[in-house]
């Protein structure tokens, strides 16, 4: 019967089977807690009747998800905001830092890619700055900027700039000389050449860099928000950990994954739009 199905259909069936299987194993592996009435007197005296914190079963997580997602934007004070608001803050920070980085990285990458001198001059700085964990900048950012919100954005800026910079430079430097010659024999000026020949030629590489950057930015924002606190999905995870609400922790972990996937998918669409075959 399976033979009649397409590869996609078979993969979908397998995915669903793995999901259900995984959830069942998870559910089954959570030890049931005895009701206080079932305990012996000794056990009750030893405090075993109190509810122990345990990893919640998937059914509890689903229940939580339903509850949170049915009212994602409620705001009941600084420590009790809906998941939608928290994710909204995180996305706002990621996008702000990310677009500031793009504004710097793409023109600079163009310059570096067009000029061998610039490439060699910038390269040592890039090589040293690139491997620095973005969170290592946090104390310095907090001290200089004196604002936790802006510091979080700065951390996103600094972590998303490198892949975009390097990929733009690489893409621009790799534009085939023939295409540049086509622009030259058509008497196009530098700006026109950059916009009509080099940019479309390098676009797939540039978008790949942007896609890598948005992935890294989303990874980093969670950690950054755990440090700066206040709002955001990273803060939410840490706050729920402090509340020992593991159901919420697991739910927010899943949400981080879903949002990250959506961000990546958006760039996937963009990547296909600018792709060309030689």
């Amino acid at each position: 019967m399976l033979d009649n199905l397409s590869v996609n259909q078979r993969a979908a069936i397998l995915s669903v089977a793995m999901l259900i299987g995984g959830l069942l194993i998870w559910e089954a592996s959570i030890p049931a807690q005895k009701l206080a009435t079932e305990l012996t007197e000794y056990e009750r005296l030893m405090g075993l009747g109190q509810e122990r914190a345990g990893v919640p079963p998937p059914s509890a997580v689903l229940e939580k998800a339903w509850e949170q997602l049915s009212n994602p934007f409620y705001d009941a004070g600084p420590n009790d905001k809906g998941i939608g608001i928290q994710i909204g803050y995180s996305i706002y920070r990621v996008l702000t830092g990310y677009f500031l980085a793009a504004i710097v990285a793409i023109p600079l990458g163009f310059l570096i890619g067009m000029s061998q001198v610039a490439y060699k001059a910038f390269n040592p700085f890039i090589q040293v700055l690139r491997p620095i964990s973005p969170l290592a900048w946090m104390p310095l950012a907090l001290f200089i900027i004196q604002d936790s919100e802006a510091s979080a954005i700065f951390v996103i800026f600094i972590c998303s700039i490198w892949p975009m910079l390097i990929n733009t430079a690489f893409g621009v430097a790799g534009v085939r000389a023939d295409w540049v010659n086509v622009a030259r024999t058509h008497e196009l000026g530098s700006f026109k050449t950059a916009m009509t020949v080099i940019l479309p030629a390098a676009a797939p590489t540039i978008i790949t860099g942007m896609r890598i950057s948005i992935g890294i930015a989303w990874l980093v924002i969670v950690a950054a928000e755990m440090l700066v606190g206040g709002t955001g999905i990273g803060y939410y995870v840490w706050n729920e950990w402090n509340n020992l609400d593991l159901t919420s922790v697991i739910f927010s972990i899943l949400m981080i994954g879903v949002v990250g996937m959506l961000l990546d998918a958006a760039f996937g669409v963009l990547q296909r739009a600018v792709a060309y075959a030689e």
């Binding site: 023939d178 295409w179 010659n181 086509v182 030259r184 024999t185 058509h186 008497e187 196009l188 009509t196 020949v197 479309p200 030629a201 676009a203 600018v274 060309y276 075959a277 030689e278």
Partner: protein, 301 residues
């Protein structure tokens, strides 16, 4: 002697040979091209044909010497000199039509969008590209079609001089034949001045008014200028019947096979910089008319 339309004077190109010395690819290359003429240049690899082409296109600078077009010295690339590159050089993210309009827009920035497109379509049609094909990207076209688009782009710009750098080098023999015919047809309709690099003797005889022969490099030079005394319009099946055809062909084969080597490296007499004109006319027909018009272009209309 009046200056020809395009005049290449004492062109010399040297490169550093990597160990402190210089390598002279060609020296004192001088020749002229008349308006409306179709000139092919033949020579072995390494004689600097492509370098001459790049200098004419303005993409490279000669070590010394000048190129003059219409009496003015040429420097840098210009829309007056269109180029068809060997590897098509189409922009792969643009459709065939957009590749042509890309050139037309650069050439005629004041034209309306519709006019640009109509002009581009006209020239694509001249090389046999019509209908849905023109909306395809280069990657969806065969090599022959890509080169057609490239030729259409160059002709659509109506440059004063059209440079073809081994345009059919990457094509199979049958496709090459078809596109040669199309090139002849478009050229006949436009009265374009063409300078073309090729490796193919038969191709150059079919297409050219005149063939420049280069000796082997290093120290290559343009040794001979062979007039192709075959009447136009030409078709590949008819020209082989012409008595001049094999005489010319033999001369070219002999030159490339033997004399290009013998002449290699010989310094040219300073006074005699122009290539020696060779005129082979076994049939001896219409001598008088040729003297009055040096170019052998047959005007179809």
């Amino acid at each position: 002697m009046s200056k020809p339309f395009l005049s290449i004077e004492r062109l010399t190109q040297q490169f550093s040979d990597g160990s402190g010395g210089t390598l002279t690819v060609f020296e004192n290359a001088s020749f002229g091209i008349e308006k409306g003429e179709f000139v092919c240049i033949l020579g072995h690899s390494g004689c600097g044909k492509s370098t001459i082409m790049n200098i004419l296109a303005g993409l490279a600078e000669p070590t010394s010497g000048v190129v003059k077009m219409d009496g003015k010295e040429v420097s840098g690339p210009s829309l007056d000199r269109g180029v068809v590159f060997q590897n098509y050089s189409l922009l792969p993210w643009l459709s065939a039509l957009k590749n042509v309009t890309f050139g037309v827009k650069a050439r005629y920035p004041n034209w309306s969008k519709d006019k640009v497109e109509a002009h581009a379509r006209e020239f694509l049609a001249k090389v046999g590209l019509e209908g849905d094909v023109i909306h395809r990207k280069p990657s969806q076209l065969s090599g022959g079609m890509r080169q057609r688009v490239s030729i259409a782009r160059a002709f659509a710009n109506q440059p004063k001089l059209l440079l073809l750098d081994e345009p059919f080098g990457a094509l199979d023999a049958l496709t090459r034949g078809t596109i040669q015919d199309e090139l002849l047809k478009v050229w006949g309709e436009t009265e374009q001045t063409v300078f073309m690099i090729t490796h193919d003797i038969d191709e150059s005889i079919l297409l050219a008014d005149r063939i420049l022969l280069m000796t082997n490099g290093p120290l290559a030079r343009v040794a001979e200028s062979v007039e192709i005394t075959l009447p136009r319009p030409r078709t590949r099946t008819e020209i082989v019947e012409h008595p001049n055809y094999y005489a010319i062909r033999n001369h070219l084969v002999q030159f490339l096979g033997k004399r290009s080597k013998e002449l290699a490296g010989q310094k040219m007499d300073a006074e005699d910089l122009r290539p020696e004109t060779v005129r082979i006319d076994v049939a001896g027909e219409s001598d008088a008319s040729k003297d009055s018009s040096p170019a052998l272009r047959a005007v179809n209309h």
